[in-house]
């Protein structure tokens, strides 16, 4: 009844090519953004910001980056954590060594540096694919954090190897409280998500998908695999790098480069499998879901009268993640994003399904 597209005709190409082709979607999305920028600051507590919302935004951006590479271009990567580390360390060095640099410029440059490193480690993808490539990205995952720990310059020869965020200023705006951090993260993530959405539905995205579906056929119809794969690596690593910088600047505050380890990579991979491979929305849904599970286990279960020890929670978390991955791969390979689509389909004919 409410959500019906019949009778809404598109009369121009721009209308046909819009991201949201029907007004209901546009209104819904506008409300969502409004809720994000205005509504959330009214209701959220500091705990909610630091425990869920800010890490959610950062990890969603990382998952989005990984989704560009794995979901759209079909190149599996287990090096997400390392590339987030590259972004974080690069951003810290830029902010520390050139204090007059604007924070946004720092993020962009950190992303670009991560992109360059990503392209470097993406080179093997030109010769190998599938799990061979996954092993190759493991090399990045083990090599890069080691490099940051061992080469003192990266952490400015801090004996403990911990880097701490300097104060954050953007155009005179001091980003201090969790709410301000949240708004900054939300702004950056929104802009980048919009860019990604447009990228995947235009030329580069189509090239990636062609390579993913069948690389030989794509090559025959004139797509250059070298360009397509390396742009996927570059764009993906840019997103992951910015996500790493945000994760470090806005969420962690201080970190050891060692912290950007393989667990983070697996987490991002789980996010896109559960959220939906090859879906922008899926990256967000998956990130939300994956971050919610541990919070549910540590805080939700005691409310329901079940008390697990810390170790038991960690093990249960492993089992839940593992089971969810297998479940989604078997039952709904397109993840939560597909469920969302099905819900919308149902809504179209609601309340008269016949």
């Amino acid at each position: 009844m409410l959500y019906r597209e019949s009778g809404q005709f598109k009369t121009s190409y721009p209308a046909d090519q819009a991201i949201f082709t029907i007004p209901q979607d546009r209104v819904f999305f506008a409300l969502l953004m409004l809720a994000g920028f205005v509504g959330v600051p009214f209701v959220a507590t500091d705990y909610l910001y630091t425990a869920l919302i800010i890490p959610f935004l950062c990890m969603a951006l990382a998952a989005l980056g990984l989704n560009i590479l794995t979901g759209y271009c079909g190149q599996v990567s287990l090096g997400t954590g390392a590339f987030m580390g590259v972004g974080a360390v690069a951003a810290w060095n830029l902010a520390y060594r050139i204090p007059e640099l604007n924070l946004l410029v720092v993020f962009i440059l950190a992303g670009l540096i991560a992109a360059a490193v990503g392209v470097l480690f993406g080179l093997p993808s030109l010769r190998i694919k599938g799990f061979y490539l996954a092993v190759a990205t493991l090399a990045a995952q083990f090599f890069l954090p080691w490099l940051f720990v061992k080469i003192g310059w990266f952490t400015n020869h801090n004996p403990s190897g911990v880097i701490t965020v300097p104060r954050l200023d953007i155009f005179g705006w001091r980003v201090d409280t969790p709410m301000e951090k949240y708004l900054l993260a939300l702004g950056v993530v929104s802009v980048l998500a919009l860019a990604a959405k447009n990228m995947v539905r235009s030329n580069p995205g189509r090239q990636w998908m062609a390579i993913r579906d069948m690389d030989i056929a794509a090559e025959i119809i004139g797509i250059r695999p070298v360009v397509a794969k390396l742009t996927a690596f570059a764009v993906s690593s840019f997103y992951i790098g910015v996500a790493g910088a945000l994760y470090f600047f806005l969420y962690l505050g201080s970190a050891e480069p060692d912290g950007f380890n393989i667990n983070l990579s697996f987490q991002a991979l789980f996010m896109i499998i559960i959220g939906g491979l090859g879906s922008i929305l899926g990256s967000f849904l998956g990130a939300f879901f994956i971050l919610l599970v541990p919070i549910f286990l540590t805080r939700g279960l005691p409310m329901m009268g079940m008390n697990l020890s810390t170790a038991a929670i960690a093990h249960t978390e492993f089992m839940v993640f593992g089971a969810m991955i297998v479940f989604f791969l078997i039952v709904e390979p397109h993840g939560l994003a597909r469920l969302w689509q099905i819900a919308k389909e149902k809504l179209r004919i609601w309340p008269f399904p016949y």
Binding site: G74, V76, L123, P124, R127, I128, G130, F131, Y132, A134, V135, A136, L138, A139, F142, F143, W146, V149, K150, I216, A217, I262, F266, L269, I273, A311, A312, A314, H315, T316, E317, F318, M319, V320, F321, G322, A323, M324, I325, V326, L329, I330, P333
Partner: protein, 294 residues
Amino acid sequence: MAFFLEVLIGGLMAGVMYSLVALGFVLIFKASGVFNFAQGAMVLFAGLFFVGFIQKGAPIWLSIILTLGVMALLAMAIERLVLRHLVNQEGIILFMATIGVSFFIDGLGQSIWGSGVQQIDIGIPTDPILLMDGDILIQSFDLWAALVAGSLLTGLVLFQKTRIGRALRAVADDHQAAQSVGIPLNVIWVIVWAIAGMVALVAGVMWGSKLGMQPAIVGLALKALPVLILGGFTSVPGAIIGGLIVGAGEKIAEIYIGPYFGGGIENWFAYVVALGFLLIRPQGLFGERIIERV
């Protein structure tokens, strides 16, 4: 020179341990085309059950039989709950599914038996042996490990000649053709996962005796991946030789190159070597050439 030899032998012996894990990978990959990321978790799982049974008072031989039973059950469960539903999916989907399996059995094993470090002592002598007038020191435990790996390898090679072994190779070659001559695919998969479980038990016992049974073993087992790339995904002897190369290479690199970088290069050396190797010879030393048909 003696020092170099000692480092080399120590590395080779460490490599044997990687080979033990890599063998399990190769078996499953050969028989089902599944790249089994869960092999490392299976090593931990088998080891934890073995230790658990021993601590409950079972003698060693009984614990081995019981653990083998558990691993067979696990193989059946994986076939029934996971693989059966993913027949004909792309390799990469199966790969991701085994990551899920890996996390699940990792968590399961630890929730049953706890996550502390458990010592395994099955009576393998650990006294050092001196060679060349005492210049070279090797652990007798390492020799035992090499012996175990060698007999495992021989057993597996001989097994391939049996009726079931032939069926395994047929399935590996072509699922559909194998099915059409009457080889039951599902049964073969259970068998091969059970055998991989057995290899995991052997690896678990050896690793556990050396380092103590602990969750970190899952991470160590990841090193079997570069071993596979060096040796080739489809070659049983390749897994052994790849393991030896990686083990010796990383120890020598750590001792002779490591000091220039502040040490710790053992952790990534194998991966970077594998990365370089992929660029030159993607099928590995002994693997079958990857030919893609359109």
